[in-house]
Symmetry: C2
Subunit: 337 residues, 2 copies
């Protein structure tokens, strides 16, 4: 199926199709210089499949992991583009997870003030979370996504077959973002997680389509798009403070969401889903450490933070919460009955 | 006078007014955190005038000169913004010439994926050239403006009184960009340069208004805006190869324009204007060295370069020239009769 993200002159298609990797020309004009950017853990066979369809291409690799979302790798990749003598009319293809899309996307946004960018996300998380939205960025020290751009890809290509190489933990990590979309906007999607066998293609394409609707209404995250940050305020803080080597991003978001699900029955349903996905429980944390992360996090402005909370499945609320209130919520903990 | 650059939701005002420095609130909402970015040669009195109007501000300085348009200064300034705990709702004010606007503008474009950016250009060149257009960038090695963004300021403030501290050479350097606008689009503006006493305010505001018309029609430099590159192809090459320590940017553009003024009488008029502005003559150059710079320059794509040439004052032509043709033109030299 093909979903068109309608952002006027920045509109682009998302192709979701088994074996899409074998006919990237459906989405990508490969008749120019192409820099294929990926980490050093991506299977060579995938790189070869893509490269064989790009007659004038080079592959630029960076070390796997969040640590590569840094200014040094950003600089390294830009230098590679210069050496390859790429012009404004050439393009970058990212193959990989969220780190790859964020890093390669910011390189594409900045090289010569922006060249065409295509994304081939290979994890559930990046398919659901970052294939729609155009948010690209790198980190600085412990500040996640502090430097970046809103830069829409020219096209996104999702081949569900590539997911088969992911570990179960990676798959479940990604499914958290899909569950998040359900909790905010669509009870049916939440129910899809309560089936004995998960229909992955339904869950992925439904989540992407929900996110598309949001982003189309608010490309620059000025109001409505904030709701996608559900779970991220505390989730990011846990990730920054305790998670970078221990937890996956989605696992931290799952933890963060628990604090703001108000309906008790819904929280029990969600905890059951977490159990079925073998998600980790929230670790013991130091309230001061997490508060410090939250204050420095980019969603905060002055003395309040925009918090998304869920009343019932598919029903959200945006609240401006004071730091004191957040501290209170952290002190009460996520499992409060 | 106030010129509004109409770019829909990215529209912004340019205030051109003596003593405008003393009431920046006409253009800038100063009731938030403000990072004032400037080089270490800007007079302290100007910084103080601006800072005294921003109750919650800090000044971040970088070493004067094109060398500061580098990834290290970019990183340094971003780190200062983080330390100042700036949020998405805060703003950056640049005070200075083109280097300052380019560097501070790219910091503003990238910090948290973009915060408000205000520019107070203090040289004729930056008032005419970079106050309209939204092109921000840094260099990498010898590649000028290779990493950057199209990022419109929220407002521009031009105080003609600050020009009095510029050297005559700096003033003349800046006037080249204004002359360029005249040569492309407006014979009247060329004639303004043939007067015994130059009317600086007329020249500056007329040039800005001409540039505004171009940028409004082509924000991302996809077609029409190319004409602003008149003189830049060879000019940039001379600047990269011989100019960084010897010539100013405008002086190099002046040299670059000579190669593409087709009408002999007009070329004589222009040479006379150059003389009155004491602009340097084109130095002896190595054709191979310049060609090498041109091939790597970002305006080139594949085997041709878009060249703007002038038939008569105010009448331009866009031509796709092969590298061989450019080489030929370089071999014939700029003073060919």
């Amino acid at each position: 199926m093909k979903i068109i993200v309608d952002l006027k002159e920045r509109s682009y298609p998302i192709l979701i199709e088994r074996k899409a990797l074998y006919h990237i020309q459906d989405v990508i004009d490969t008749n120019r210089k192409i820099a294929i950017i990926c980490d050093d853990f991506i299977p060579d066979t995938w790189i070869e499949i893509v490269k064989s369809q790009c007659p004038n291409s080079m592959v630029f690799k960076f070390p796997q992991g969040e640590n590569s979302k840094c200014i040094q790798q950003f600089q390294y990749l830009l230098e590679q583009c210069i050496q390859f003598q790429m012009t404004r009319k050439d393009a970058i293809i990212a193959i990989g997870g969220g780190v790859t899309g964020d890093l390669a996307g910011f390189v594409a946004a900045s090289y010569m003030r922006g060249i065409d960018f295509y994304n081939i996300p290979t994890t559930i998380l990046s398919q659901v979370d970052s294939s729609v939205g155009g948010k690209v960025a790198i980190d600085m020290g412990s500040y996640k996504n502090i430097v970046g751009a809103f830069y829409q890809p020219k096209g996104v290509l999702i081949d569900p077959d590539v997911l088969s190489t992911l570990s179960i933990r990676q798959q479940h990590n990604g499914l958290v973002e899909a569950l998040k979309m359900g909790l905010i906007l669509d009870e049916k999607l939440v129910e899809a997680f309560e089936q004995d066998v998960l229909d992955l293609e339904y869950i992925i394409s439904r989540s992407i389509d929900l996110k598309r609707i949001i982003v189309e209404q608010d490309e620059k995250e000025s109001h409505l798009r904030k709701i996608l940050n559900f779970g991220h305020t505390i989730g990011h803080a846990i990730e920054s403070a305790y998670g970078l080597d221990t937890y996956y991003h989605g696992e931290c978001v799952a933890m963060g969401m628990l604090f703001f699900i108000k309906d008790k029955d819904l929280k029990q349903r969600v905890l059951k889903i977490y159990e079925s996905l073998s998600l980790p429980v929230v670790p013991d944390y130091d309230v001061d450490v997490l508060m410090n992360c939250i204050v420095h996090d980019k969603k905060s402005s002055e003395k309040t933070v925009s918090i998304i909370s869920i009343e019932k499945a598919g029903q959200y609320k945006i609240e401006e919460m004071s730091y004191n209130l957040i501290r209170d919520i952290l002190e009460r903990g996520p499992y409060e009955k």
